[in-house]
């Protein structure tokens, strides 16, 4: 099958970091949930860790261009998100699974994924193939024509993942994607994550430290809207060997980092 390659696909990447924030501030309601965050993310899978209320979801919403930053700079794929003209082409290269995956119950899985592909302005001719591929990748082939209201929570979560990856995004944002997945599906999902992280920037927000250690190439730890630590999972595990609270080395490393940060603050 021959298809036209667009100039945006061929354009060499001119930025070192697909995601780059400088003193980013984002409000959730009146509360400043992200407060002066400096972050640089390259290609690969990044695990976003942090306690409840650390500003993870608000950060995800800002990165997905749903929420406007109230201060600082946010550049995605080299484009400033406050630039209205660049926003539309930029958005077609993003994928986003929100924490609360709101859906239209009467849509079938295929219709919903197709609708999102259309919203993200994929070329018309590519949509059916891309939809089928996305549905296959999350393992929902046999339920592709079921209505969303007939699916279980874990299946809905997988529909959410399918709609996020359907356009082959350069920046993929997944907010707690493993909630409701059974252990087998979580293992499959980690494989999918590693695949996706080979040529795009994937940011996964999660509470499960073991998911991060197993599937991520980089860990980002935030607390109270600020960056606490960024490094590789092996470093997190190594920190955990020196003590801390938790059942695994990575969990102990996580709690140690948070405790150190809080006592320093």
């Amino acid at each position: 099958m021959v298809r036209m390659v667009t100039d945006t696909e061929l354009r060499p990447s001119t930025t070192a970091w697909p995601v780059e924030t400088e003193q980013l501030r984002v409000k959730a309601g009146r509360h400043l949930a992200v407060d002066g965050l400096d972050l640089r993310l390259g290609v690969g899978v990044h695990g976003l860790l942090g306690p409840n209320g650390a500003g993870k979801t608000t950060l995800m919403r800002a990165l997905s261009t749903v929420e406007r930053p109230s201060g600082g700079r946010l550049r995605l794929l080299g484009e400033d998100v406050t630039n209205g003209r660049a926003l539309r082409p930029l958005r077609s290269r993003l994928g986003y699974l929100p924490q609360h995956f709101g859906f239209y119950p009467r849509f079938t899985v295929r219709e919903y994924v197709e609708y999102v592909a259309w919203l993200r302005e994929m070329p018309r001719a590519d949509i059916p193939e891309a939809v089928q591929r996305a549905v296959e990748r999350v393992g929902l082939t046999d339920r592709a024509d079921s209505r969303l209201k007939a699916l279980s929570g874990g299946m809905l979560r997988r529909v959410g993942i399918a709609q996020a990856i359907v356009n082959g995004p350069a920046v993929l944002l997944l907010d707690e994607p493993t909630v409701g997945l059974d252990p087998e599906q979580r293992v499959e999902f980690r494989t999918l994550l590693r695949e996706l992280g080979q040529d795009s920037c994937v940011l996964v927000s999660t509470h499960l430290v073991e998911d991060v250690v197993a599937a991520c190439s980089d860990v980002v730890l935030v607390d109270k809207g600020r960056l606490v630590w960024q490094g590789v999972p092996a470093d997190l595990t190594r920190l955990g060997e020196q003590g801390g609270v938790g059942d695994s080395a990575a969990e102990r490393g996580y709690s140690t980092l948070l405790a150190n940060h809080r006592s320093a603050a």
């Binding site: 749903v66 958005r91 995956f101 709101g102 859906f103 239209y104 009467r106 919203l119």
Partner: protein, 263 residues
């Protein structure tokens, strides 16, 4: 293509002769792509194992086509509905249509009172517009809001659907009451344009609330209390509405980029 492939080269190609370098293979393949005669010759000289393999592949493909899943039926009208409308709009639209019909019934019963249809006409599209782009009523808002078509394009599509649903009952009521179309159509369009214009600044939901609320407080409430026909819905104010509709539409088109920034 005048020169066909020599039989010797073709034979070397089919057997995968290592003496044939990449350039030669490439030349042969380019020629084969465009020459049915040479393809037929190639098929004739192909060795037995190769034809057997090709037959096997053909059988497997045929079996796959027969036993595999059916192609998905295209449901074009459903897709059209998904792209233009929103399920959560339906209750709002039903309410508005019902309100217009109720206003029409009251107007028929009390012709001496200020016409409720005309008082309702300007704000009839607003409730639908408020719900068409609201975080609360659209369950998929967070996903759609971050996409390329979000904001302006979806808003305009949904506004078009709302107008297509709301205007016919208004037209019917206006026609049966014998009022000039300018008195219900122009105010409805003016308020729609004003909502789009203001919505780019403060959000469509707030814009619809402000405009609808002001209309009710300033025009509808006094008219209902005093039972006097407000000047704004008298036939004499038609020129004013024409100007307002044209200016409103022009401003809304001019400031259309505001919605793009309103993530």
């Amino acid at each position: 293509m005048t020169n066909h492939i020599p039989a010797a080269s073709l034979a070397a190609y089919t057997t995968g002769d290592p003496a044939l370098d990449d350039t030669a293979v490439w030349t042969i393949e380019v020629h084969l792509e465009n020459c049915p005669d040479c393809r037929a010759q190639l098929a004739a000289v192909a060795p037995e194992p190769l034809t057997a393999l090709l037959d096997d592949v053909q059988v497997m493909i045929d079996r796959g086509v027969r036993t595999g899943p059916e192609p998905v039926r295209r449901r074009a009208w459903r897709r059209l509905a998904h792209r233009w409308a929103m399920w959560s709009l339906i209750p709002w639209l039903v309410t508005i249509v019902a309100a217009v019909l109720a206003a029409f019934a009251l107007d028929r019963s009390f012709p001496e009172r200020p016409s409720l249809v005309l008082l309702l006409a300007p704000v009839a599209p607003l409730a639908g517009m408020a719900s068409a782009w609201s975080r609360r009523t659209d369950p998929g808002w967070e996903i759609t809001a971050g996409t390329s078509r979000a904001g302006l394009e979806l808003l305009l599509r949904r506004t078009a659907v709302i107008l297509a649903v709301v205007l016919p009952p208004l037209a019917l009521a206006g026609w049966r009451l014998g009022t000039t179309p300018a008195l219900w159509l122009l105010p409805a369009l003016t308020f729609t344009a004003a909502t789009l214009l203001l919505g780019g600044r403060i959000g469509v939901v707030r814009a619809a609330a402000v405009l609808g609320g002001s209309w009710f407080l300033v025009v509808v409430a006094p008219a209902l209390v005093t039972a006097d026909m407000p000047a704004l819905i008298e036939p004499s104010s038609t020129p004013g509405w024409v100007v307002a509709a044209v200016v409103g539409a022009a401003l809304a088109i001019w400031r259309v980029d505001d919605h793009r920034r309103n993530a």
